[in-house]
Symmetry: C2
Subunit: 401 residues, 2 copies
């Protein structure tokens, strides 16, 4: 007998019929004789509606009460899913996060899980019950309901899989797995059958809409393998697990991020402490800087460019202009007509020349590279936004033909 | 400084604008320097919608999960009300039932409060916070969320008022108080300024849509006075409290219950144990019997009639027919073309002749009385249903002219 953790996202439980279908899927697993623990998100757009209700009352809803409000969405799904399972004659028990033993810190709306006490879950499994748990939520030491931030249900599933030492952890979603690139742009995109935690993390930070980085980090830290697969199809499925560099593909995925903006400081004095000052100020305001490029110095002056999420551009520019004046930069400008294209592959570390293949494809397409950033298993290029999709297709074709 | 408990029902927090208005009302009380604890119900028809969602999934929703589902409705109101209060610059904290220390038994969908631990409430009041608590819910010793049944928020409010030794307990609703009779039928109905617990209980069992009997019983048991008043108007208000027979009015209210049915056993043997057998069987099936009338015996046989809620009639008739065969009754019939009219008054106990005045009014209107039942502070008559409203008007006119 194995212990199986399954997680169903909001689109998988979007209406009454889908909830019934998910219940049948869960029962199918239970019928094989396994213990089943299910983590479930709020139905469809529930979280968005609750948030909008809150905004009608208070344009800056207090975070503690926002968590209390949002936590109800998952509880509704839990209760309904239990009812659907019991309707088919199987025993189920629904647990809000706090009753499932999920203890978090006190940082409302993006709490971190501190501890999971699986006593109650294991007790109910021993009673032959299917255990249904509300994702995305827990309780703090101050006895307040907390939520884990968007995508937090994945985190709940992985943390619980670790806490009960599950044999399998399955993340069900509305796609058939993790793709080599965005299939809406490149129809030839393939499902990746196996991928390492590191690659998943690089994909998330490269802008691929896969899983919340924190969920993957926890899986990596505690070595919890998990499967991403479709609720509505038996095909596909991507196994995310620990892999050696030797096991890894040279290129696993190609990712395009069109929500990037670039800020450039022209002609700042090239002396120690300048970068620390600029990025220190941005960090204080919680602005994540992605790629940083500094030109070769001329006459003790240099140009400095960096990218931020385009939603942060205005705020980052305002801070940068203040910094630019203090540092006596010639000018500070911004540009959101850019995009970032990234190739990721664990095997890249052992295979020189992968970056060169990427640059060659871009050159052949006549695409100018404005910024480059690399890690051991990743190469990112910033190019003009209107060339992004063409670049994605050509690079995908180069590595996945 | 006084401790005030306020309870707002679902119609008082039916939409965003009403929630804002309630927040202002609460702040007004807080501004006087008092400590304020608020109990709130689910918004408008939320509980009904959640119940209907459950029924779409499972026609007999398991009670434990139904409680988990329904409990979310009040939590949403709590969170939104806190947000509205904080938007006006006051500090509030929202507590679901289980965090407010409300411990119940394990009878799902109609749990009884076993204990209230007011530690958290008192702690937050000491921190100058307005404490907003989800009505209608608690947690059982098995760590399951429970609900207290329809009208359970009133019970929460009264129990908390008792637990924190509140100076005032105010039940806000969409009417201006408790009326001498139903103002939709008798426009001359007046608001009762003071009423005893006993009279409120008699009114509830006489079919008046006032408060859940259990809430009043708890108030009576622990001598917790409370005020029923309107959320939307400063007028009116009914104080419910301990009163002596001397303080009571001869007639406080006149009530019409049109949801009654009568079952009659004809010609059953008049010997010991018959009534015990009939009503024992009905009790086992949870059918409440209201008025019982037994005729004078003729030739060791008698007729026996009793009333039940019309929703129980079919079920009660089925049981009664079985009993009738065993007891060799000549016949067992039912009739739901009846209604029950009741006068209630604490002072009635000290004033003979009140019942006679009621019978006289009915006689003058040509209305035949089919059954009579009395207590120290109540007289009920069963009459034809189509004469109910006329009887109500005439009797109200007799006592409240």
């Amino acid at each position: 007998m194995s212990k199986i953790v399954q997680k169903y996202g909001g689109s998988s439980v979007g209406d009454v019929e889908k909830i019934k279908a998910v219940a049948e899927k869960i029962i199918k697993e239970k019928k094989t004789g396994n213990d089943v623990v299910v983590i479930v998100s709020a139905m469809g757009k529930t979280t968005d509606s609750l948030f909008s209700l809150a905004r009608q009352i208070n344009s800056m809803p207090p975070r503690r009460e926002l968590d209390l409000l949002l936590s109800t969405g998952e509880i509704v799904s839990v209760a309904l899913l239990c009812m659907a399972i019991e309707n088919s004659g199987y025993k189920a028990i629904g647990l809000p996060g706090f009753l499932a033993g999920i203890y978090t810190d006190t940082v409302h709306t993006r709490a971190k899980i501190k501890k999971i006490d699986p006593k109650k879950i294991l007790y109910e499994l021993a009673n032959d019950k299917i255990v249904i748990i509300a994702g995305f939520q827990g309780i703090s030491a101050e006895e307040s309901i907390t939520t884990l931030g968007r995508g937090g249900s994945d985190l709940t599933a992985i943390a619980i899989a670790g806490a009960i030492n599950a044999d399998r952890c399955e993340i069900y979603t509305d796609v058939e797995g993790v793709f080599t690139t965005d299939p809406r742009i490149v129809p030839e995109a393939k499902i990746i059958s196996e991928i390492s935690y590191e690659e998943m993390l690089e994909m998330a930070s490269a802008g691929a809409k896969v899983m919340q980085a924190r969920a993957v980090e926890i899986a990596q830290k505690y070595k919890i393998p998990f499967m991403v697969k479709s609720t509505f199809s038996e095909r596909g499925g991507t196994m995310v697990k620990e892999m050696t560099l030797e096991e890894g593909a040279v290129v696993t995925s190609v990712t395009l991020d069109e929500h990037q903006a670039k800020i450039t400081f022209f002609n700042v004095p090239d002396k120690p402490g300048i970068a620390a000052q600029i990025f220190g100020e941005l960090g204080k305001e919680n602005i994540n800087v992605d790629i940083i490029v500094q030109n070769v110095s001329k006459q003790d002056h240099t140009d400095l460019s960096f990218t931020v999420a385009s939603s942060d551009m205005e705020h980052a520019l305002e801070i940068s202009k203040r910094q630019g004046e203090e540092l006596k930069a010639a000018n500070v400008i911004c540009d959101d007509n850019i995009c970032k294209i990234t190739i990721i592959g664990l095997g890249m570390a052992n295979h020189p020349g992968v970056a060169a293949r990427m640059f060659k494809v871009l050159a052949e397409e006549g695409i100018n590279i404005e910024m480059i950033s690399t890690s051991e298993i990743r190469v990112s290029c910033v190019i003009r936004k209107n060339q992004g999709k063409k670049a994605l297709k050509s690079i995908h074709n180069e590595f996945f033909k």
